[in-house]
């Protein structure tokens, strides 16, 4: 085989290797955007849904754990109630000696999210006040459950 062909295929194969890496990185990037709960900024689709979602930007879209063993975890809010506690079927499973099996519940009424203590031993705190009945949760207010602190974010 001629020397030129060898050199060309050599360079071509290296380019192919790097193309694979770049494609993989692209998948990582698109995954980052969809996992963080942000809408993909697809130009055409963005305009269509823009009118709908504009007035609702104030409503929380995700629950973020800011302190405790699970800190960094994000859960996208989808309208269903969120159960928090040590039970295996909770939405947010806490491994925390200070949390009860069914500790607290977050649920939506109309546009607002409400936190409710489910008879836990150590209580649920919204911004340092103990939660007794269903209480409205403002955006960014810390909810303390045992050693875990969660927040709602838009």
């Amino acid at each position: 085989m001629s020397e030129l062909v060898i050199q060309l295929t050599r360079a071509g194969f290296l380019a192919l290797l790097w193309l694979f890496v770049l494609v993989a990185l692209r998948v990582v990037r698109s995954d980052l955007q969809s996992a963080s709960g942000l809408r993909m900024s697809v130009p055409g689709a963005g305009k269509k849904s823009g009118k709908q979602s504009r007035p609702k930007t104030k409503s929380p879209r995700q629950l973020v754990v800011t302190e405790g063993a699970l800190s960094g975890t994000r859960i996208t809010l989808e309208g269903r109630p969120i159960m928090i506690g040590r039970a295996d079927d909770s939405t947010l499973v806490l491994d925390d000696d200070y949390a009860s099996t069914r500790h607290a519940k977050l649920s939506i009424r109309g546009q607002d999210w409400y936190v409710e203590d489910l008879g836990s031993t150590n209580g649920t705190y919204l911004d340092r006040t103990k939660v007794t009945g269903p209480t409205k949760v403002p955006l960014g207010a810390p909810i303390k459950i045992g050693k875990t602190v969660i927040e709602l974010r838009s």
Partner: protein, 490 residues
Amino acid sequence: MAATSTNPDNREAPGGPGTGKGTGSATSTTPTRRGTELVLLAFATVVVTCALTLVNLNLESQPPNQILYYGVAFLALFGLAHLAVRRWAPYADPLILPLVAFLNGLGLVLIHRIDIGNAAEAERAGDAFSPAAPSQVFYTALGLVLLALVLVFVRDHRTLAKYSYTCGLVGLVALALPAVLPSMIAPNINGAKLWIKLGPLSFQPAELAKILLLIFFASFLVSKRELFTTAGRRFLGIDLPRARDLAPVLVAWAASIGIVVLERDLGTSLLFFGIVLVMIYIATERAVWIAIGLSLFAAGCLAAYSLFGHVQQRVDAWLNPMTSDSGYQLSEALFGMATGGIGGSGLGGGRPAIVPYAKNDFILAAAAEELGLLGLAALLLVYLLLTARGLRAALAVRDSFGKLLAGGLGFAMLLQVFVIAGGVTGLIPLTGLTTPFLAAGGSSLVGNYVLVGLLLRISDASRRPQQPSKPQPQQPPIAEAHTELVERPR
């Protein structure tokens, strides 16, 4: 770029859930991204097939019409794995399987290429020669079957936590087994007592032990997290842990010293201790554990160096590869990499087979010689991406056990790559770890496929949309699940 633009349908549909009513079912709005996985698998197949074509063009060893057949077989093998993921872990990370396929495929091509070189040498010397590529293909298939079995039987990674002490015990026994067994069953191969040989079969139980011990540590640390965060005395502005809390670290340290002494394997020892340290660090977020571990490690290194001849030999070969008696392998590898340079000699253009054990320990040197710095960097980047996906799953999963396990699994792979790449390039003394997925070696390949199976399972749990508010009543009994699902594939 065509590969990425073909799958916009897998992206999240705009105007999805999270606002107002949220009536849409979660499955329709959360992308599974299995299509992306398939496209990337096809791309990996193209890369691997091109590599094989180049090897055969440059060495003119095989008729080119067979290559297409190999490519199709490769795609079919991983296509079956893809179907298993689609069936049993539909929300798993779309990158993990293609990246593994890419590494494994390139490994197969490199092994095949070194086989050709070795065969030519053996012919010249008049020795018998058996190629390693066919058995590697067999172990790839076996590994993929095990990956599917992991996905089938481990439906929820949290069930593993229930067997943590069993895993820990079995893992420790497996780790210690070659050391205590008589040398008839556990022969001393190349100075290390790591293998168990039963008839024609030989395997390294350490590969299995690695995963079992990871499961044990993850579960142990979740339940005993407090133990490691209790502050003791303050010294020089650092919160030192209490002396009695050091016990688990000391046990791990003693065990890794034991491996060095009894099995004469530096790599496994280093890997084992590194995993323990990092998992404690992930669990407690306290850097003081890393400092304590590293100082223990340094003390252990000094002790091992002054006491054991085989450690001194390794260090000597590392510091003086050109003059030392045992440095021949490393110096040949360094010459090979220097020949490769930036762009490499092209697949089939170099002579990587000169290095002894080129297809096991020194496959990265072979890759560096033929693909150059650019190719090696691409390979290392793929390893990094694989680890990053593991850590991504660890971040996103919603329970602490899963977090620790995924973090540990991801890190174990990266540490293994670091130890062997550092050894091959002369950064650290050479130890006998295998390059995951790339190097020839059945136990390592199969073990790493089990590891990837667990990672897929955890990433599936982390990306799966939340269950509807009424939870699944009960999991079916395990016995039932067996009979139902074993029948299904193929």
